[in-house]
């Protein structure tokens, strides 16, 4: 009887351990990079136009041929990042994405960032006037101002760095 009890306890402990083989939240797929804001060439101070009150990284679906307007790009938004810190010259960001192909950029916002934080994507797309594109992702050395971002399965795509240009001219 005693042996039986001990065996049963050991069995219970083994069951417990099996239950816990899972590790929970796994590292996620997505993109990581740095947003680089312009600084004054003399003072080194961060330049931030008065008309903008914050900035986000935005991700849109890749499509070919490319979008022909900012409105059509906003209509295919996939997600946007948490607000970027407006006091840092260089700021790291991360966005979780499913495997696939995307386009990325930075938009300045004309409203308080907290006003937009929980807005669903279709609401954002309905108000492109709140946003001013100030940066597009392009691979280093590329002649074209906009590059494709590839996210692979179980992999973090790094170095998706975006340089902010307040006078950005869109390629469409």
């Amino acid at each position: 009887m005693e042996k039986f009890n001990k065996s049963l306890i050991i069995l219970l402990l083994l069951v417990l351990i099996c239950f816990t083989c899972e590790k929970g939240l796994e590292p996620v797929e997505g993109i990581q990079g740095t947003v680089i804001f312009p600084v004054d060439s003399i003072s080194g101070a961060l330049i931030w136009p008065d008309s903008l009150r914050g900035a986000f990284v935005i991700i849109a679906e890749f499509q070919y041929p490319l979008y022909d307007s900012i409105d059509s790009l906003f209509a295919h938004l996939v997600t946007y990042s948490d607000p970027l810190d407006t006091l840092e010259k260089e700021q790291d960001y991360f966005i979780q994405l499913k495997p696939g192909y995307y386009l990325g950029g930075v938009v300045g916002v004309t409203r308080t960032v907290a006003d937009l934080l929980f807005l669903p994507l279709d609401s954002l797309a309905a108000h492109p006037e709140y946003f001013k594109p100030i940066g597009l992702y392009a691979p280093p050395g590329s002649d074209f101002p906009m590059g494709t971002i590839r996210v692979s399965e179980d992999k973090l795509t790094e170095d998706i760095d975006i340089t902010v240009d307040y006078d950005l001219e869109l390629p469409f």
Binding site: N5, I9, L16, T20, L25, V78, Q96, A114, D115, L116
Partner: protein, 724 residues
């Protein structure tokens, strides 16, 4: 004139009834209670005079005394868990002291467990019409908690989500505000008036003797905050003539498995110390203690520094009167972590919040005057001062608040018959808050309660109760609510009962829910001064069966809520606001089985709770509830000095969260089922030195309970306690 005289006479009689000692001639009983096996004293044994409210508990030497015993033949019952109860009858002569000793035999059957929360008086747990769970001192000590919040989730159906206490799905998540579970410390409320939050660090885990959890609406006895249940934390009384103890503890958090997630190169440590002394001079006893605990936390800004001072005074007055006064003061500074920087840096706080911190102070001064007037009549007077303050020093918020509550309560217990108990009382409180984030407000509460418990036969016990609450905040109109309750117990056998209950409950909104206007990190909250009280009707049926080897407690329960107060995101301005939005139903079932293994020194516990939380207004599930929860615990005891144990907790995936729900376009979803394993090893050396080694989240399971807040990593703790 005649009416006036009659009224005057009635008032005089009433006054005499409550204030003049019974003049009947009485005697005194003294004695010693020991084990029949080795004659060792049995401290903590309850000695109760049958058919009365008179009784006492033995001290460390196994000795007791009872004053004011009515002259004549009296029967005493001696009860100690682990020993068979014994009954003796003696003759007490007026003015004399009678010696009556007991020797108790070790039990063959387990004695019934006694609780005080279900009926506001000591009664058998199995006779409660509502589920009451208990956590013993051993269960608390072995798990070596930093705060009581670390041990409560080992009880079935009890969850704590980032500090917010939730029993059987009654609460969601509102950053701790507006608790639907009343927290009592020795029967004194310990919820802040302004935000209705529980300050877990204000309850010293090392002083706790027992925790009782009432898993159903408690408003009919405990008022507003007890809508979803009651947790009564009972602290240790002064039992020895002189005792000092020193506790030293330390712990280390594991580094995250992925090195890129580490927010610091240093070791993440936790340490604490405490010194306490208690002494008794005749009828007077006191305890004084001081302690400090510090931690780096397992995540950036998870640090804290706490200092705790406590004092307790007990005075046994003549004529079965006693006085207890307790003061607790906690000063705390801690970092503030609102959300992670990103899923790949889950232990980092966003860059602009790394200096965010909060300073808090908590003071509770509680006084209890207890008087057993006669064998059938006792009364209690409680006074409680509870003061809390915080001062935010954050990039987004520099708000501060100070809240204080002065409350008083009179409770009368009367026993008109052998198995008939009446409990009545008056409860009043004056509350005040000064805050720059929810303004300056005053609140007043007044309540009358009455409860009648009766065994109508050997088989059937009935309970009826009613509480009338009046609540007012500032100059708003008075809110009044009457909450009745009914209970039925069927005692099928000595150790087998069926129970059923139906209770009404309410919760008045707290100042923070009505008037808050603030921003923390990116989250903005706006006021709603029109918020109304939320109400519920809840019922349960259950079974309790206890044998020496097995205890089974099972229940089906259902609660229907109206005007439920929940935080809601206003789509028009992206601000969070507390609103009466929901009609909701939470139904479920729960089963807990404890058993001792025959022939080997081991015990096991399995408890499982299922809830179905439905938002009837939105035809959706209620957010922040886990439908399934399971706890499995194993404990082995060797040689009386070594205990080993392991705990496993499972919470199924939350079906809905509010702020950051899953995103099908990106795959972002932080909700996972939760599997947590912990263990402990306790070594007692020469009864004066105890070492405890414990581990939490042994397998480094990664989970969140609130979006963007990673749960704690593995923590290994060592604690030493020396008593001299």
């Amino acid at each position: 004139m005649r009416n006036y005289s009659q009224q005057h006479r009635q008032m005089l009689l009433f006054f005499l009834w409550i204030s003049v000692p019974i003049l009947a001639q009485t005697g005194r009983i003294v004695g010693r209670i020991s084990s029949a096996v080795n004659n060792e004293p049995l401290p903590g044994t309850n000695v109760i005079i049958r058919g009365s409210l008179l009784g006492a508990a033995t001290d460390l030497g196994g000795e007791y005394y009872i004053d004011g015993v009515p002259a004549g033949a009296v029967t005493l019952n001696a009860l100690n868990i682990g020993f068979q109860p014994k009954r003796k009858t003696i003759i007490v002569s007026p003015g004399e002291t009678v010696q009556l000793d007991f020797q108790l035999q070790p039990k063959v059957h387990k004695s019934p467990e006694i609780v005080v929360t279900g009926a506001r008086r000591a009664s058998r747990k199995m006779d409660s019409p509502v589920t009451i769970a208990t956590i013993s001192e051993d269960q608390i000590r072995l798990r070596n908690p930093v705060t009581i919040a670390d041990v409560l989730p080992y009880e079935s159906g009890v969850q704590i989500i980032d500090g917010q206490l939730n029993i059987r799905g009654s609460s969601g998540y509102a950053r701790g505000a507006g608790s639907r579970v009343q927290i009592l410390v020795d029967g004194f409320p310990a919820i802040a008036f302004d935000n209705g939050a529980i300050y877990w660090d204000a309850i010293p885990a090392q002083d706790v003797e027992r925790i009782e959890i009432l898993k159903g609406p408690g408003s009919a006895l405990y008022g507003s905050s007890a809508m979803g249940g009651v947790v009564n934390i009972i602290t240790r009384q002064i039992t020895s003539n002189r005792k000092s103890d020193v506790t030293l503890g330390g712990g280390i958090y594991a580094k995250p498995g992925d090195e890129r997630q580490a927010w610091t190169d240093r070791s993440m440590l936790q340490e604490d110390w405490r010194v306490q002394h208690e002494q008794r001079f005749g009828r007077l006893g006191f305890t004084l203690g001081i302690g400090q605990s510090n931690s780096s936390g397992y995540r950036q800004n998870g640090w804290y520094r706490r200092t705790l001072l406590n004092a307790r005074l007990e005075y046994a007055l003549p004529d079965n009167r006693s006085l207890m006064s307790r003061i607790l003061y906690i000063h705390d500074i801690h970092g503030s972590f609102t959300q992670w920087r990103s899923p790949i840096q889950p232990f980092h706080t966003p860059p602009n919040t790394v200096d965010d911190q909060v300073m808090t102070n908590k003071l509770q001064w509680s006084t209890l005057y207890n008087r057993i007037v006669s064998a059938r009549h006792s009364r209690q007077l409680r006074l409680n001062v509870f003061r809390t303050s915080f001062d935010n020093d954050m990039a987004s918020n520099t708000g501060a608040a100070m809240s204080q509550t002065l409350s008083g309560e009179v409770q009368l217990d009367y026993r008109p018959g052998e198995s008939h108990y009446l409990t009545a009382g008056l409860d009043a409180s004056i509350n005040q808050v000064q805050a720059d984030i929810w303004g300056d407000h005053r609140g007043t509460d007044l309540a009358l309660f009455l409860q009648d418990e009766m065994n109508v036969s050997a088989l059937i016990g009935l309970t009826g109760g009613l509480r009338w609450d009046i609540h007012r905040i500032d100059d708003a109109s008075i809110q009044s609510k009457v909450n009745p309750k009914f209970g039925l117990i069927l005692k099928l056998r000595e150790q087998l009962t069926l129970r059923g209950s139906l209770g009404w409950a309410f919760r008045a909104p707290v100042a923070a829910e009505m008037f808050i206007e603030t921003q923390q990190y990116l989250f903005r909250v706006k006021p709603n001064p029109d918020l109304q009280s939320e109400t519920s009707i809840a019922g349960e049926v259950g079974i309790y069966w206890q044998t020496y080897f097995l205890t089974l407690d099972a229940a089906f329960f259902s609660s229907h809520y109206e005007q439920l107060i929940e935080p809601v995101l206003d789509p028009d301005d992206q601000r969070i606001q507390f609103r009466n939005i929901t009609e909701a139903v939470i139904q479920g079932a729960e089963i807990t089985v404890d058993w001792k293994w025959p022939l080997i020194p081991a015990s096991s516990r399995v408890s499982y709770t299922y809830i179905d939380p439905r938002d009837l207004t939105a035809d959706d599930v209620l957010a922040y509830r886990h439908p399934h929860s399971l706890v499995i615990s194993e404990q082995l005891i060797f040689f009386d000095w070594l205990s080993l144990g392991i705990d496993y907790r499972y919470l199924s995936k939350m079906e809905r969260v509010q702020l950051f729900p899953e995103n099908s376009r990106t795959g972002a979803d932080q909700r996972v089922p939760i599997h947590l394993v912990g263990g402990f090893c306790n070594i007692s050396l020469q009864k004066s030195l105890t070492l405890n080694l414990s581990v939490e989240n042994l397998f480094q399971y990664r989970y969140v309970m609130v979006e963007r807040n990673m749960g704690p990593v593995r923590l290994v703790k060592l604690r030493m306690n020396y008593v001299f």
